[in-house]
């Protein structure tokens, strides 16, 4: 590089820097996502969605003259790393609020940091213990498992199929689902006639299903994330099991239909509204947000937007709205977040209050059935 070019570069760089200095200071929002590691299927769409929506907000002129700046770190799904990075975000990057982490384990580890430093944390993970009991600085956008369980039980109660078998995966997601299924069964008059588990890497579940077949259940509820439930669907078809099969919201993606193929037909599951955005009735108040999110995601990343990305989208929008309502410090953002009413996001309609930092009701889920390799809403 010759001297002339060097001078030009220095001039250009200093010009850029000075321009920045004159504009209103950007508001920094921190983010912790498990972009790599075992929970990457959560972290990657979350980071993508957060980046996307912040870019859009800035393109539209920012919020109240402030640009937003996202400082996102990868936790690799590691709770220890998440705590270190949360401290870094607060001490070094001086963020006003933190979005994430992606998993319940990481979130529980980061909560003490956020509480101590008094920084609002909007978690993208589903565990109900995150906001139960309510913690002053902690909110979440992902739907509680209990809402999904309620949706299935409500249907079973109406259909008078009250003897059910449950088959859950032996990881955090399955354990939480199993607990909710057992806790809520009584409330809906449902009897659990058999309770089995399978390993997340298991490749054959005919043994468990054979046992279930002998138990005369009227419905089978399986709680897991891909690929296990697809194997179960195939195994059930192989064994000729005609008992209605229910899945969790953990498999509400096209990937499940692709993996299970023919065996997916007729399976019912509670699902967030993202995957069925286009078939929702126009009267649904979330429809506008959902369609915008799905279209944007498709445009930016050439992939279908999913629930996980939606959790981050909701978190960014909640902070944006808080700032729009005049908040600019951590404390005022927290207060404004708590005043959120009827925000129709991706995960559902959020109504936070001093007693409720999860903010969603049962309408966050719809019960869908798989027909002809596509979703149909069960009335």
């Amino acid at each position: 590089m010759n001297v002339k070019v060097m001078h030009f570069v220095i001039a250009a760089v200093s010009l850029l820097l000075s321009v920045n200095a004159f504009a209103a200071a950007p508001i920094k929002i921190g983010a912790l996502f498990a972009v790599t590691g075992p929970a990457a299927f959560l972290g990657e769409p979350e980071r993508n969605s957060a980046k996307m929506v912040i870019d859009e907000i800035n393109k539209a002129g920012g919020v109240k003259g402030h640009k937003l700046e996202l400082v996102a770190y990868d936790t690799a799904g590691d709770a220890t790393k998440a705590v270190q990075l949360a401290t870094k975000l607060i001490k070094d990057d001086k963020v006003v609020a933190i979005i994430g982490p992606s998993t319940t384990g990481e979130t529980m580890a980061v909560i003490p940091v956020a509480e101590k430093e008094q920084i609002p944390l909007i978690s993208c993970s589903a565990g109900s213990k995150i906001t139960d009991p309510v913690k002053k600085w902690v909110f979440k956008t992902a739907q509680n498992d209990s809402l999904a369980v309620g949706k299935i039980f409500e249907y079973l109660q109406k259909a008078k199929q009250t003897n059910v078998s449950i088959l859950t995966v032996s990881d955090g997601f399955g354990a939480s689902g199993r607990e909710q299924l057992k806790n809520q069964a009584g409330k809906y008059g449902i009897t659990i006639v058999s309770d089995d588990t399978y390993g997340p890497k298991d490749t054959d579940m005919t043994a468990q299903l054979t046992k279930i077949r002998g138990s005369h259940a009227q419905a089978i509820i399986c709680w897991g994330t891909n690929p296990g439930p697809a194997v179960i669907a195939k195994n059930a078809r192989q064994l000729g099991i005609k008992t209605p099969l229910f899945m969790s919201h953990g498999v509400s993606s096209k990937k499940f239909i692709e993996l299970a193929g023919e065996a997916a037909e007729g399976i019912k599951l509670p699902s967030g509204k993202v995957v069925v955005a286009d078939i929702l009735p126009n009267s649904d108040q979330q429809k506008k947000s959902l369609m915008a999110f799905v279209k944007d995601y498709q445009k930016h990343y050439k992939a279908e937007g999913d629930h996980f990305g939606g959790h981050a989208w909701d978190a960014v929008m909640l902070i944006r709205n808080a700032i729009d309502n005049g908040a600019d410090t951590s404390a005022s953002i927290r207060d404004q977040l708590e005043k959120t009413r009827g925000f129709a996001g991706i995960g559902g309609s959020f109504n936070y209050s001093a007693q409720d930092h999860a903010g969603l009701g049962k309408d966050a889920f719809v019960l869908v059935e798989i027909k002809n390799k596509d979703w149909v809403i069960v009335k």
């Binding site: 054959d204 046992k211 000729g240």
Partner: protein, 293 residues
């Protein structure tokens, strides 16, 4: 407990066990030729499945052409692995070699994650998926494919090791490498052969299970470990005892999941592994000083 339930457990167990057996034989062939446990064996299982997927979807090959293609590419990976990671080693002590195979398996898995992503993929079954009823139990046509192909491979193995010169040479290496070298057998070539055979067998196992279990970049870990268990039960023989080891393991797992608790399925496999290593390290069927082929 009804009879047809038990029958179903046994049938499911046998078909899973056949896969463990195929992978287990891959372990023992390399062990016999080189004295090392190749912990990258599971990765060839993964490669077989994922390469078939690529041949089907990217190259648009029909299934009958995609399978040999995938086996060939996996075998090339096996050859490269032996050439680049095993052969150049200055001090081929068993512990060094084992660590290298573990490193190799992490590398192959990582590359596969970059190439195929983290998603699980499905491969169509070879001949439909209409269940076949046997007594009160049902199996899929794919299960028959698995049992038949496993049987075929065992027969080919037997013929190769006992009725061909290079097979006999490989057995000679396993008895005594130095003596085999002295009578003019190229021991290093035999090592390469062992990697070729076992990577191809691993790939076959990966391909025939993929329609049932689906495949992803990380399926090799668990299948590899179960195959290793089968080989240990069979006393690291590359013959019928490893096959029986695999079948026993599959059936016990399936019965355990059905009759005791599904939560203990993997524990059963590893308890058996530990028991065998403690009580009968020569394998379930081996004599204390048994032949190893």
């Amino acid at each position: 407990m009804q009879f047809d339930q038990i029958l179903q457990y046994v049938l499911s167990g046998l078909s899973t066990g056949a896969i463990y057996a195929l992978i287990g034989i891959g372990f023992s062939i390399i062990y016999n030729a080189t004295g090392i446990i190749n912990f990258a064996q599971g990765e060839f299982v993964m490669l077989g499945g994922l390469l078939t997927l690529s041949c089907l979807e990217l190259l648009k090959l029909p299934l009958w052409a995609a399978i040999p293609c995938a086996i060939a590419v996996s075998t090339v990976v096996g050859i490269l692995f032996e050439r680049l990671a095993i052969r150049p080693l200055k001090q081929p002590t068993p512990i060094n070699l084992v660590i290298i195979t573990i490193g190799g398996s992490i590398l192959i898995r990582g590359l596969a994650m970059l190439v195929w992503g983290k998603d699980t993929h499905a491969i169509p079954p070879f001949s439909g998926d209409t269940p076949i009823a046997i007594g009160g139990a049902t199996i899929l046509p794919q299960h028959l494919w698995i049992l038949a192909i496993t049987l075929l491979i065992i027969v080919i193995n037997k013929v190769y090791f006992y009725h061909t010169i290079s097979g006999k040479a490989m057995r000679a290496c396993s008895y005594n490498r130095r003596a085999a070298g002295l009578v003019g057998i190229d021991v290093r070539r035999m090592v390469l052969f062992s990697f070729i055979i076992s990577s191809a067998m691993g790939a076959v196992a990966g391909i025939i299970v993929a329609p049932l279990t689906m495949t992803a970049y990380d399926v090799g870990v668990m299948l590899g470990l179960k195959g290793f268990c089968a080989a240990i039960i069979g006393g690291m023989s590359s013959g019928i005892s490893t096959v029986i080891g695999g079948l026993i393991l599959g059936v016990l797992e399936s019965l355990g999941a059905g009759l005791i608790s599904s939560g203990y399925k993997d524990a059963i496999a590893f308890i058996i592994l530990l028991l065998i290593l403690f009580i009968r390290p020569q394998g379930l069927f081996g004599k204390a000083d048994s032949e190893r082929v």
